[in-house]
């Protein structure tokens, strides 16, 4: 009888397990193993090469370039997204005219697929008659090839990311703000607390769990969101806007150097794990959970 129940239990779990192992766990383990083997090519089978792939990586100037790019990209998108989304949430967390419309407007970029967003921004960035250059033209400034020159390509991509995800994070901040009882603000008002003081002494500490959650998400996104790179720059010019995941895709599916792609993937997962765990433990002590 008991055995039968167990069989039923496993059968019910089976579809989920197959998907989970087939698409997550086995590939992950396989990737880790592959990073220590060479890429099979033609009649040359894969051979065990130990740390060779990792050694190659540290000497790879393009890898260093994309790592630097990705760090700059993360260093801007994470704080900028958090700051802008929190500011938007504070702005729409009150009774003002057209509140529903404003909230929707802020949230719209998130609803659009990143590919579509990238295409819209591509028009904004067009040299000469794109939105930005038309505005610059009004002031008599000369056109700029925003995504075509190495000095601005990465920052152009960065702006799109912030625009795309800030609205999403705003929803979390808005929800967090709405859990703060109104009478805390009233009690503080009776004491003569300024809006600024109230934000730093009460609101900010109380929404800290949400800020932590959002910052972890923003970090993951900084390494995960590369759709717009495909549409807008393909990592160019001269790898100026290439990010780590984009480079992995290039190596794995354009050059079919699967072993090297696996090595890069392991590095990315390790970086993400360290940052994620670090954020959690470092901030957790300063976060107030009710």
């Amino acid at each position: 009888m008991i055995k039968r129940e167990w069989i039923h239990a496993w059968l019910l779990l089976l579809p989920a397990l197959v998907l989970l192992f087939g698409f997550t766990h086995i590939p992950a383990v396989q990737t880790f193993i592959d990073s220590f083997w060479s890429t099979p090519r033609g009649r040359r089978p894969s051979t065990f090469v130990g740390w060779d792939n990792y050694a190659r990586m540290t000497a790879d100037p393009v890898f260093l370039r994309v790592m630097t790019n990705n760090l700059i990209y993360a260093a801007i998108t994470i704080p900028a997204s958090i700051a802008i989304s929190l500011w938007m949430a504070l702005f729409v967390h009150r009774r003002i005219m057209g509140l529903g419309f404003l909230r929707m407007a802020y949230f719209t970029p998130t609803v659009l697929p990143l590919i579509a967003v990238a295409n819209i921004w591509l028009f904004f960035y067009l040299p000469g008659f794109g939105l930005f250059d038309q505005i610059r033209g009004l002031f008599g400034l000369r056109p700029v090839n925003w995504i075509g020159q190495p000095s601005t390509a990465l920052y152009s991509i960065t702006a799109v990311t912030v625009w795309n995800q800030a609205g999403f994070f705003m929803i979390f901040f808005l929800a967090a703000l709405q859990t703060i009882p109104e009478n805390l603000r009233e009690a503080a008002a009776l004491e003569g607390t300024s809006r600024w003081t109230f934000f730093w002494r009460v609101t900010w500490p109380l929404i800290m769990p949400t800020t932590l959650f959002v910052s972890v998400n923003a970090t993951i996104n900084a390494f995960r969101m590369v759709d717009h790179v495909f549409v807008m720059t393909q990592g160019g010019p001269n790898n100026a806007s290439a990010l780590l995941l984009y480079y992995i895709y290039d190596q794995g599916f354009r050059f079919w150097d699967t072993a090297y792609a696996a090595t890069l993937t392991v590095v990315m997962v390790v970086i993400l794990a360290i940052i994620g765990i670090g954020q959690f433990f470092l901030l957790d002590r300063r976060v107030h959970y009710r």
Binding site: A189, G192, T193
Partner: protein, 349 residues
């Protein structure tokens, strides 16, 4: 010895009391009028209770006094100064909220001195005042705790301490005891009343509980549907309710109101008049008005007899040792225990 310590603490918190005056205060929302032409005096250093059923406007009135809302029209004066347009912080009053409004991420000590810190009171003075108030409120050992580590009664004390430490002459309280259990509520009633008297605070206390109002208040302001029904001392309110609303609202069970038509002795009164008699003033004996007994509720010391005079349902309170009444009884009451109300519900003198 303990008493001496108490008095010396009290002397250090010297508060100059100030009275409040509301003149023709009205608060209207888009769809409803919450307060209509409220004019009352709230004397300095006294305990004033705003009493009424939920939705009567008593909390709205308190929020207007606090400055959390603005009246549609009318004036609010504190110690003779017009504060109608002043922001809450400049009104020289403190407030205790129904949910206490403690900051969950701050310790008890930080919660209590929050206002002093915001107002940049010198650090040494801050701690001195904190120690004094904490000792007075019995919070000495709890200063490092967070609100979620405290019982309901302790949270209530922290909220009170935060109001007291501000040393402001007027303290507003919005149903502060409604989240406590019955035993604690009885204790806190005594404690709050005691605190108000020791510090000479002008207290404005909102409640829907007549027991709180009767036991704590110097003055009770009875409110109904945005209007003031009566302002009186608890004894006056019970002895001479000005309106049928007050008569029905105060007393457990409330005053019996019998249509004058049903009582031969009062048939001469105009149509719609009501005769009120407190349940404990009615006497069951051989003479008086005939009543049909419908049930008896035994309470231990007393019993409540539910009966009917004509169409009016009434309750008679009598000592339980009297025993069960007959199916039909005759009821009488002394002339001085009779309250007469006109058709509009106003007391006839």
């Amino acid at each position: 010895m303990a008493m001496n310590a108490m008095t010396s603490i009290d002397e250090q918190i010297a508060i100059a009391a100030a009275g409040l005056r509301l003149e023709g205060v009205r608060k209207a929302y888009d769809t409803a009028v919450a307060l209509d032409n409220v004019t009352i005096d709230i004397p300095a250093g006294a305990f004033t209770v705003l009493l009424g059923p939920s939705g009567c406007g008593k909390s709205t009135l308190l929020r207007l006094i606090a400055g959390l809302d603005r009246p549609t029209s009318g004036k609010i004066l504190l110690g003779g100064n017009d504060i109608t347009r002043k922001p809450p912080a400049e009104r020289d009053l403190s407030m205790v909220f129904q949910s206490y409004a403690l900051f969950p991420h701050l310790t008890v000590a930080e919660n209590i001195i929050f206002g002093l810190r915001v107002r940049r009171v010198d650090k040494a003075e801050r701690w001195e005042r904190l120690n004094r108030v904490a000792r007075m409120m019995g919070l000495d050992g709890l200063l490092d705790r967070r609100p979620n580590q405290l019982s309901g009664g302790q949270q209530q004390r922290v909220a009170l301490a935060r109001a007291v430490i501000s040393e402001r002459p007027v303290c507003l309280m919005d149903e502060p005891l409604s989240n406590l259990d019955a035993k604690l509520r009885a204790e806190m009633r005594v404690e709050i009343r005691d605190l108000q008297q020791r510090l000479g605070l002008t207290m404005v206390y909102v409640t829907h509980d007549q027991v709180e109002a009767m036991t704590m208040a110097d003055h009770i302001v009875v409110m109904n549907q945005g209007r003031v029904e009566q302002v009186a001392r608890p004894r006056e309110l019970y002895a001479a309710p000005e309106t049928t609303f007050c008569a029905r609202f105060i007393g457990t069970p409330p005053m019996n109101l019998i249509s004058a038509r049903d009582l031969p002795a009062y048939r001469h009164l105009p149509e719609g008049s009501l005769v009120g008699v407190r349940p404990e003033d009615m006497i069951v004996d051989g003479e008086g008005v005939e009543a049909v007994v419908e049930g008896v509720e035994y309470l231990g010391a007393d019993q409540l007899i539910a009966a009917r005079i004509g169409a009016a349902k009434i309750i008679v309170r009598q000592p339980a040792r009297t025993g069960a009444p007959d199916a039909k009884v005759r009821l009488s009451w002394p002339a001085e225990a009779t309250h007469l109300f006109d058709a509009d519900g106003r007391r006839l003198h």
